[in-house]
């Protein structure tokens, strides 16, 4: 078995069938990380002894004839804002290195391990998740497996590098304004940002409480579905997690896109894109026969409101740290948070009022369509350190504008699957946006595109190895 590039579903089937042991899979992942991570800088901690002990337990259970779960022996890693018992939860920061070790794993880690998966370690990220680049001045940038001089995208940059680089088949990230979808797009991965409130955020380090989501990145739509199904379910430890029965999606994937009404987002989402983003969108739309264009009303204002809520709520979270340890922040994050602390309160409340109005308008659209397609990022991966790019003739900061198309969607918590279109020389993603609680629709479409070869996670060429 090619453990480097095998899908989680293939690994789980092989482990459950006794074709390979969980320990062998785990050792292969650890060896792969030792070999490749120095170039990718995806991991900030590898928990080798815990992972091997967990794998041994699984192999013993298999020997005893016990069921191993749908993710048997599947290695996974998590953005380092998820609590891992025994480690401080860095959230990409220097400051949190002084925090006491977490006493218990995040809920989603517990749920994936209950399904048979094996946690391998913690992943690099932009400081306190206020980032779209994957750069980090404390841990250095995570690097794109398709070109290590280029950004992974962020803030779940290590998650993108780890899954796209073949270090683990599944990585967890968080997405406040696009932090799963942007690295999925730039690294050539499938990424799921579920409905706001669907997956528990318990024991993760927050950023913007009213916008924070968590979810998986993987190299196939089926792997996303398997991980998502294992993580669903109410959790009283997260007040935002909705008390709703799990709605398994994996059994529905084979239905594909048949019967679904799919449109392409126009207006705001047609502006600013580089040629590669337009090409990817056209390919996906053509494969799905999506000819209708639909306008998501006031998306530009929605993005603006998300921006203001983010900076103000983020500043509120970090206010005390800004007072006591301002010099220990990444200056780019610090200066934005200080500005965020100074935003007049009426503007934040107004943004939350606009959010409700906007939600009602967008939900109306879902009476006519089941899914909406939009670019995930305006361009393929920029070079690490690149400060600006030109969109529609206007020079704009890369850091703030990679999430141009993702922000108006997460603003109202809609479920989205970012699918990778394997263009040359670099992949780029397309968002499949569905109505709240209809992750099944987005994942079915992603699976159908993968079957047709339109969406695929391209395997990086690793020169010099």
């Amino acid at each position: 078995m090619d453990t480097v590039w095998a899908h989680a579903s293939e690994i789980a089937e092989a482990v459950a069938g006794g074709d390979i042991s969980a320990v062998e899979v785990t050792e292969a992942a650890l060896a792969r990380i030792a070999r490749r991570d120095p170039a990718l800088n995806a991991f900030t901690a590898v928990i080798e002894s815990r992972a091997l002990a967990r794998a041994e337990d699984l192999d013993n259970a298999h020997t005893e004839g016990r069921a191993l779960g749908p993710l048997a022996g599947v290695p996974f890693a998590v953005k380092n804002l998820f609590d891992i018992a025994g480690l401080p939860t860095l959230a990409g920061s220097k400051i949190n290195r002084d925090a006491p070790p977490a006493r218990r794993d995040a809920t989603l880690i517990e749920r994936l391990e209950a399904a048979g998966a094996v946690l391998i370690g913690a992943l690099n990220m932009g400081e306190y998740a206020y980032d779209f680049t994957g750069e980090n001045i404390h841990d250095d940038p995570s690097r794109n497996p398709h070109d290590t001089d280029r950004m992974t995208g962020g803030s779940s940059g290590g998650s993108g590098a780890a899954a796209a680089g073949g270090l683990v088949p599944i990585a967890l990230g968080s997405d406040t304004n696009g932090s799963i979808r942007v690295p999925a797009s730039l690294c050539g991965l499938f990424g799921l940002k579920p409905t706001y409130g669907r997956l528990s955020r318990a024991r993760t380090f927050p950023f913007v409480a009213s916008l924070d989501h968590v979810g998986p990145l993987a190299r196939s739509a089926k792997d996303l579905a398997l991980a998502y199904d294992a993580m669903q379910g109410h959790d009283p430890d997260d007040p935002v997690c909705v008390d709703r029965l799990a709605e398994p999606v994996t059994p529905l994937l084979a239905r594909g896109a048949d019967g679904l009404r799919i449109a392409v987002a126009g207006g705001y989402f047609r502006k600013g894109a580089f040629a590669e983003a337009r090409t990817a969108l056209e390919r996906v739309a053509a494969a799905l026969g999506a000819k209708r264009e639909i306008d998501i009303p006031e998306a530009e204002r929605a993005r603006a409101a998300a921006y203001v809520i983010t900076t103000a709520e983020g500043a509120s979270l970090h206010l005390d740290r800004l007072r006591r340890r301002a010099r220990d922040f990444d200056p780019a994050v610090r200066d934005r948070l200080i500005a965020g602390a100074m935003v007049p309160a009426p503007l934040v409340v107004q943004a939350q009022k606009f959010r409700r109005w906007y939600r009602e308008q967008v939900l109306e659209l879902f009476k006519e369509v089941d899914a909406i397609l939009a670019p995930a990022t305006p361009c393929t991966a920029p070079r690490i350190g690149q400060q600006t790019f030109v969109l529609d003739g206007v020079e704009l900061p890369v850091r703030a504008n990679l999430g141009l198309y993702t922000q108006p969607i997460s603003f109202i918590g809609l479920p989205v699957v970012a699918v990778p279109v394997p263009l040359e020389p670099l992949p780029i993603g397309v968002q499949i946006i569905a109505a709240p609680w209809r992750e099944d629709v987005a994942l079915r479409i992603a699976h159908a595109l993968e079957r047709e070869g339109v969406a695929a996670a391209p395997r990086p060429v690793e020169g010099g190895e």
Binding site: A304, V308, D335, I338, Q352, W357, I412
Partner: protein, 104 residues
Amino acid sequence: MSKLRKKTATTGKRANARAKPAPPRAPAKPKPGAAKASAKRGAATTGDPLDQFIDAAAIALDLPVQPAWKPAVKANLAVTLRFATLYAAFPLPDDAEPAPVFVA
């Protein structure tokens, strides 16, 4: 004040929260000389009102903003305030509820 605003302010009917508002007005442009006048009314320091606002807010919030950080803080705040004009000018009824709803 728009008719919609007057109506909701008077009746306070929840149903009006769902009414589609009138097209947004363009954000109000500052009047010529407003910044200068504002500076005169402000503290002892002179100059750009946004600089004065940052100085005052830093004191009020007890935030140690170093002089070297101020240009970046100012640039970020200016972008944020510009973004805010995009939706703040959008008319919503008085009884529009913010998105997060507290449940007792």
